[in-house]
């Protein structure tokens, strides 16, 4: 990459060019001896001009991009012989030498060959040092953002979704700007965060979700997506060893764009669009007036014709019988057509001694979740982002880089998720037979729809991240590099119910208002320093040695205040409430480590890397010993051997293998026995909190991988395959000691072991490429198999809320589902045991039960439980929440010379299950469900005294297929959730250069695109990707992504954008 040319030069790989650069830098020389270079870059096969090709003069910071006609112009090029390199993703790089005469323009054209194999690509290894991909034995996936310019993505998480095998990006729901949970190669920890750590330009940044409300934003998406040049993903321990005691989930490294010498190059984008919820995913609402809920909660006689007439009038149904099941479009008023807009402007340029990149972006999305007619709550995300990067070369051997990023963000979501006053949750669980003027959708309890939309919850964030990097080359081959940076996040989270928010006089929770105000202040400080020495040990052996140290400090400080019951309307601060309260939480973690790495190259086709990191972490205290994380890897490129020109059908071949370790520490204070404040009316008090374990150590992840990269048909196609195997030892198991011991929460112990294996396949290439058309395709797939192999003495662990049937059980994948089952009746039997004799009732007995009890609720029927479950507490294994297979496929079709059609499909399948908890409620709950057509009819038949016993027996038999919730949680709603989602479709028109000539515009594209167009799945819930995770910070949230509860699915978004370079 051109911005790393300086690095290459310093490492001795381009010494001649460095000399040229130094000469060029000398003031007198620059002023007196300059010329220009111009030319065209085209596709060598089709001869189509290529835009956005990076063109740069080796050994200098001079660079530019080609315009729509494939043309480029380099000004102020030092006179003399220079080497010009060109680089574009999907093509092999090329370089040519040209002589530039003083005051003249040299002509230099390039024809690039497509190349799906990127072995020469520079990537940043685990030590933060650029090296060629061919030299690495471990997997480093790179995502080039330039290739995603046509993609309909609104934030960084979406940019990452589906791009790389083994990297899962799951958005929990469909709110605007909602954060995603990212997993790399599955689950590395039972109790700690499974999110990878994130670095931006060499400094650690927060990817936390501080807001506890469903639909909250992730700090990861604060990063301006337009400012990102490329992303590298280190998958697993073998790659991330040098990142130490926090890196076993992998590392995401983000590199922002940089300046380059030359005239300012401006880029502007404008985007607008709209979004809609996929209504076909939501089952219609049904009910009947004599339901258990209708009878109990309708004012007066709930099971009366008067009630039926009122409900019919409310929904415009005409006449309605008391037990007649009716349908309503209850959710129609909850969704709307959302709209979004985004604008960005950037400029890059500079001179030989200083260059800059400055970018600004404004984005606003009003999501497809509507309901604003009910109240002020909104589904909105607004971002204002700025990036400024400056690179300064004060001397020939010193480089200084200043990187900065600033974001202001406003994120608001209507209440949803697992929330008794959730607008979405209480709407899908509404009972249409309870609807009336002051309860328009018929919510059964807690609050009406109008009241819930009078609850506002929003978050305002200000964030700055900045770093200084200095790189000094005191000797040939020696580079000293130091980075210091800070990431400061300040978020204000407010949940507010104003005085009199219960406008329908239905809700009784804080009718005089309540305000919760929290500030989340995070500060991450990174200090990283290393020395790199590149040397040729012999004619055939090269060496690259790294010695470094890193210090990371993370501080979190939360202040919260709450005010309950305001004396009058208009008071909107916590201090004005009659019952104010306040508190704070402080957390600090420090991680310090030293690392060393030696990379040897033999004849430039065999490479081996050995390295290790020694780490200490504050979670183990000042006096505890450190941890050593070693690694070794080998990469062999036989096709680079002298005289070798391909092997069989493969034009290029690389084999690689790596093994390494990294770790994950427990929480800062998990080792201590602690007591928490429990104030009493007699004064301050304390009670049990954390049981404590002074022997806590980090869990250690050891991972090995083998694989290969293969070029086919002269590298038009590439195939890469990786098999990996991970063992996590000393797993931090949340051991549940008997609650009778006084400490009811779990305590971490290093008890267990988890194993995981998998393989990743990736293929991409060019199917055809003519002067007028071409088609590039890609496929990636990841297979993952995980098992908790040892839990020591710890018993099975129930994860999360009691309705979630997720468990950690030895011998099963983490987060596997276990539930009770209903007895499977044989011929003549039923699933019921209403006489409580431990035997299934016969159909005759059940019929007689209905003769004796002519009107019963489904809840009055006693199921006979199935026996023989091998799981905890005799429950049955019901599946696992992570798919065996996941990945994506798609491609880009170029046609008519100027059009590109780009698409991507994401998929997951194979032993992939979810607990459809929303569906479970809708099927089962007497007050918050039985509002689907099928279950309303069952209840109607069973409660209707005029229905025959035979009809009731049939209804009861059908009820067996729907019953859920305690004690039958998960029984009927742990479902297969395989899916294929049409994630992206974009049509881009590249305006021909002839059309924009004279306008000062170099490049211009117009794109119409859509995201989440279509979902194919047999899963009966709303969305197989949505889940109840709000703050994916570890512990129970690691496994509740298998629970689909009360979240709207992701909407379909349509965007139209214009991108102009000038």
């Amino acid at each position: 990459m051109f911005h790393d040319a300086f690095v290459q030069a310093a490492r001795g790989q381009s010494r001649a060019l460095l000399t040229a650069a130094v000469l060029a830098f000398l003031p007198g020389a620059v002023a007196a001896q300059q010329g220009s270079i111009t030319g065209t870059v085209v596709d060598g096969s089709s001869m189509r001009p290529l835009d956005a090709v990076q063109v740069f003069v080796e050994g200098t910071s001079l660079g530019t991009l080609t315009n729509s006609s494939g043309r480029y112009l380099l000004l102020e090029v030092p006179a003399g012989e220079v080497t010009v390199s060109v680089d574009r993703v999907g093509y092999g790089s090329a370089e040519q030498t040209v002589t530039v005469a003083d005051g003249e323009t040299a002509q230099l054209d390039f024809e690039l060959s497509t190349s799906a194999v990127q072995l020469d690509e520079l990537v940043i290894t685990g030590a933060g040092q650029a090296t060629e991909r061919r030299r690495l034995g471990n997997t480093v996936s790179a995502v080039d953002m330039e290739q995603l310019q046509d993609a309909p993505t609104a934030n960084f998480s979406e940019q990452l979704q589906g791009r790389t095998a083994g990297v899962s990006v799951a958005q929990s729901g469909g709110m605007a700007g909602e954060g995603s949970e990212i997993r790399i190669r599955g689950t590395s920890s039972l109790t700690q965060s499974n999110n990878p750590i994130v670095y931006v330009d060499g400094i650690r940044v927060s990817n936390a979700v501080d807001d506890g409300d469903a639909g909250a934003a992730s700090r990861l998406d604060d990063i301006n997506p337009e400012s990102i040049e490329r992303v590298e993903i280190l998958k697993g321990a073998a790659a991330a060893t040098l990142y130490g005691t926090e890196a076993s989930n992998g590392v995401i490294q983000i590199f922002t764009k940089r300046g380059q010498a030359g005239d300012p190059q401006w880029e502007m984008t404008a985007e607008g669009g709209f979004s809609q919820m996929p209504m076909e995913r939501y089952a219609q609402h049904s009910g009947f007036v004599c339901s258990q809920a209708g009878s109990a909660l309708w004012p007066g006689d709930g099971c009366s014709q008067e009630h039926a007439d009122a409900v019919a009038d409310h929904w415009g149904l005409g006449s309605l019988g008391r037990y007649e099941v009716f349908d309503t479009p209850l959710l129609d008023g909850l969704f709307e057509t959302g709209f979004n807009q985004a604008y960005s402007l950037s400029v890059r340029g500079g001179t030989e001694s200083i260059n800059y990149y400055v970018s600004g972006r404004y984005a606003y999305e009003d999501g497809a979740f509507g309901g604003e007619q009910w109240g002020p709550a909104q589904d909105v995300d607004e971002q204002k982002q700025a990036t400024a990067n400056l690179t300064f070369f004060p001397t020939e051997d010193l480089r200084l880089r200043f990187n900065s990023m600033y974001t202001e963000r406003y994120h608001e979501v209507p209440t949803n998720g697992n929330n008794t006053t959730g607008t979405f949750s209480m709407s899908i669980m509404a009972k249409p037979e309870l609807a009336r003027e002051n309860n328009p959708t018929g919510t059964g309890t807690f609050a009406t729809i109008r009241e819930m939309f009078n609850i506002e919850q929003f978050e305002e964030t200000k964030r700055f991240a900045g770093s200084v990097n200095t790189q000094y080359n005191p000797l040939e081959g020696l580079t000293l590099d130091a980075t210091i940076g800070v990431d400061i996040v300040s978020s204000e989270e407010i949940d507010f119910q104003r005085f009199g928010w219960n406008v329908d006089d239905f809700a009784n929770t804080a009718p005089e208002g309540e305000r919760d105000f929290s500030t989340h202040n995070r500060r991450n400080i990174t200090f990283d320093a290393k020395a790199v020495y590149d040397n040729e040990l012999t004619e055939n052996i090269t060496s690259s040695f790294i010695l470094g140290a890193q210090l990371l400090q993370n501080e979190y400080h939360e202040n919260f205040s709450s005010g309950f019951a305001f004396p009058a309307p208009g008071l909107e601060v916590t201090g004005a409430a009659s019952e104010p309260s306040a508190g704070e939480t402080v957390n600090q973690e420090v991680n310090a480590g030293v690392y060393v790495q030696e990379q040897l190259g033999f004849n430039n086709f065999i490479f081996t890397t050995l390295g290790a990191r020694y780490d200490k972490h504050s979670a183990f205290g000042e006096t505890a010993g450190g941890e050593l994380y070693p690694k070794v890897s080998v990469s062999v490129v036989p096709t680079d051997m002298a005289g070798m020109d391909g092997i069989g059908p493969f034009s290029s071949v690389r084999f690689r293998a790596a093994v390494g370790r990294s770790g994950l520490q427990p929480g800062a204070f998990d080792q201590f026995t602690t007591f928490q404040p429990v104030p009493s009316v007699e004064g301050p008090g304390v009670g049990p909190d954390n049981l404590g374990n002074e022997d806590l150590r980090p869990e250690v992840s050891t991972e090995w991988e083998v694989g290969g990269d293969f070029g086919i048909l002269d590298d038009r196609f590439s195939l890469d395959a990786t098999y990996w195997d991970r063992t996590v030892s000393d797993v931090l198991v949340p051991r549940q000691f008997p609650p009778s011991g006084g400490f009811t929460s779990t305590q971490l112990f290093n008890l267990g072991e988890m194993k995981a294996t998998g393989f990743e396949l990736g293929m991409n290439g060019t199917l055809f490429n003519t002067s007028n058309a071409g088609f590039d395709m890609f496929v990636n797939a990841a297979y993952t198999e995980e098992e908790v192999t040892d839990m020591g003495e710890a018993p099975a662990i129930k994860v999360g809320y009691y309705r979630y049937r997720t468990w950690i059980v030895e011998g099963h994948a983490p987060g596997s589902f276990f539930s009770r089952k209903i007895y499977e009746p044989q011929a003549g039997e039923t699933a019921y045991d209403n006489d409580n004799d431990g035997q299934p009732d016969s159909e005759d007995e059940l019929r007689q039960f209905f003769v004796d009890n002519p009107s019963v609720s489904p809840d009055d029927l006693a199921f006979l439980p199935a026996t023989g479950g091998q799981g905890p507490d005799g429950e049955f294994f019901r599946g696992k929440p992570m798919p065996d297979w996941s990945g994506s496929f798609g491609g880009t079709l170029s046609f008519l010379g100027s059009f590109r059609l780009t698409t991507q499909f994401d998929y997951a399948f194979g032993n992939f299950h979810r607990q459809n908890l929303s569906g479970e409620f809708r099927a089962s709950h007497w007050l918050l469900g039985r509002n689907t057509r099928e279950t309303a009819e069952i209840e109607s038949t069973l409660t209707n005294p005029d229905a025959s016993p035979d009809e009731k027996v049939a209804a009861a038999n059908e009820w067996r297929e729907h019953a859920g919730l305690s004690p039958w949680d998960g029984t009927n709603k742990i479902e297969e959730a395989d899916y294929i989602r049409w994630r992206e479709l974009g049509l881009t028109y590249q305006v021909p250069g002839s059309a924009i000539e004279g306008l000062g515009i170099d490049r211009m594209t117009v794109t119409a695109a859509s995201r989440n167009l279509k979902l194919w799945t047999k899963y009966s819930g709303i969305d197989p990707e949505s889940n109840v995770v709000t703050s994916p910070s570890g512990d129970t949230s690691n496994f509740v992504y298998g629970i689909d509860g009360w979240r709207p699915g992701v909407p379909t978004r349509y965007t139209f954008s214009v991108r102009i370079g000038f």
Binding site: A482, F506, A549, V681, E682, S740
Partner: protein
């Protein structure tokens, strides 16, 4: 030329600066930054901070609060199970209790196991530290008292229970041995009494009366509760009489757990008044139009001139007027919103214990006296008619006793549930297939969290 020299010097300075930074970096790395690794935890108290006489009061206060919450949770659970509350919310455990289903381990049993264990352990730990570090008698007395209350609550509410200490696992007591938990409760309360004086001694005697009464009740619940429903325990009666003698027969005394904004919310206030997971059952009160809350007595049905009170549907068996005790209790409960108090033991209950004993002994006149003391306490400004055991128009003493227990002990832990079991009353919402109907006397089982972690239960010890 001058500018070139200046530039050269600046570059040298920068070079030196960079080299200095890098040197410092390696120095930091080489030392391992040990001092930086010792971070503070200002959020919590660690074990060693509690191991002194001065800190014991913090743990005792914690025991009080946790005991208050545990008893409040037990009150929510048993009143949901009895006919006192109706489920109007989302929780399955609540729906199950409303329908008389008790034995689901992952349901309410799980939550009660946790809160009972936490409060009991904290009280016992406070007691241990108080003795070990020589805390003053008041702290020892209080720790004993809270432990006694918790043991009594566990015995009242659980079919079985285990007592462990941190990671030292204890076996379940056994369903047949739960009466021994009352013995522990009585032992703790007697220890407390030995250190108490004045009003504290009165409170502890009242608790001992209640504990002995519960201990006597327990065997009745193991068989057919209706077979011999009345309790007449001499020790309980003795303590009850002692307290009444001490406070005066007309004193409407109560020992209550209190909640306020600086503590947690009362479980009853949170579940019933705020969340409206339950509403008082319409056998007791008139429900408002939304079906979610108690209506006000706008028509002044009880004729006391106050229309802001709760509208009561349950009538007094003597004068057929809306019951004033119930009205006062529910009005106070609703008005307290998040912080209603939880009655632990009251003078009215002690009178009713004595009345019940008198009925069991066939001494109806004594029963009448105690019942009328209770009736007089309901609303001195607007009293109900006196009960006359000799009046043929008045109900039998046992019927009056049942009514007075129902209204005066409304919302108290297990009282109504046990009365329903032993007097053969079923709640209208109990399913015919439920535990409460098919196995009267059933209370909560050991929760799932304990069942999957206690090696004695798992058989792996």
């Amino acid at each position: 030329m001058q500018s070139v020299q200046t530039g050269y010097k600046s570059r040298r300075k920068l070079n030196r600066l960079s080299a200095g930074l890098l040197t410092a970096a390696f120095a930091v790395g080489a030392t391992g930054c040990d001092s930086l690794l010792d971070v503070e935890n200002p959020n919590n108290v660690v074990q060693s901070d509690l191991e002194n006489a001065e800190a014991v009061s913090a743990l005792v206060n914690g025991a009080l609060q946790l005991t208050s919450e545990a008893v409040g949770d037990a009150a929510v659970s048993t009143t949901a199970l009895s006919d006192e509350l109706t489920h109007t919310g989302s929780q399955n455990w609540a729906a199950e209790l409303d329908r008389g289903i008790i034995t689901t381990p992952s349901g309410r049993s799980d939550a009660l196991t946790d809160v009972f264990a936490e409060a009991t352990w904290t009280a016992e730990e406070a007691l241990r530290l108080a003795v070990e570090f020589g805390a003053d008698d008041e702290q020892v007395m209080r720790a004993n008292m809270y432990s006694g209350i918790m043991h009594m609550t566990i015995a009242d509410n659980m079919e079985d229970f285990a007592f462990s200490d941190r990671i030292e696992v204890g076996p379940p007591v056994g369903e047949d041995n739960m009466q021994s938990v009352y013995d522990t409760a009585i032992d703790r309360l007697e220890s407390a009494l030995a250190l108490a004086s004045g009003s504290d001694a009165t409170t502890i005697r009242a608790l001992l009366a209640r504990a002995h009464w519960g201990r006597a009740m327990w065997p009745k619940m193991q068989g057919d509760p209706t077979a011999d429903p009345l309790v007449n325990d001499a020790t309980a009666n003795g303590y009850a009489q002692d307290v009444i003698d001490a406070i005066g027969v007309d004193e409407d005394w109560a020992y209550r757990f209190r909640f306020q904004s600086s503590t947690s919310e009362s479980p009853q206030g949170s579940w019933v008044n705020s969340r409206q997971e339950f509403v008082p059952a319409d056998e007791y009160v008139v429900i408002s139009g939304s079906g979610k809350s108690v209506a006000q007595d706008e028509d002044d049905a009880d004729g006391d001139g106050d229309t802001d009170e709760a509208a009561i549907s349950l009538l007094d068996p003597i004068d057929d007027m809306p019951d004033q005790a119930l009205q006062a209790r529910i009005t106070e409960f609703v008005d307290a919103f998040l912080y209603p108090e939880v009655d632990v033991v009251t003078a009215r209950e002690l009178h009713l214990i004595l009345a019940e004993a008198a009925i069991a002994d066939g001494e109806d006149d004594i029963a009448e006296t105690h019942l009328n003391h209770v009736r007089a306490m309901k609303n001195p400004d607007h009293p109900h008619d006196e009960y006359d055991v000799d009046n043929p128009l008045h109900p039998e003493p046992l019927e009056v006793l049942q009514h007075e227990r129902r209204v005066n002990l409304y919302n108290m832990v297990t009282r109504r549930l046990w009365d329903m079991y032993r007097f053969g009353v079923t709640a209208p919402r109990w399913s015919s297939t439920s535990d409460a109907v098919t196995n009267p006397g059933q209370v909560f089982v050991i929760g799932q969290g304990e069942r999957v972690s206690n090696c004695f239960i798992l058989g792996t010890c």
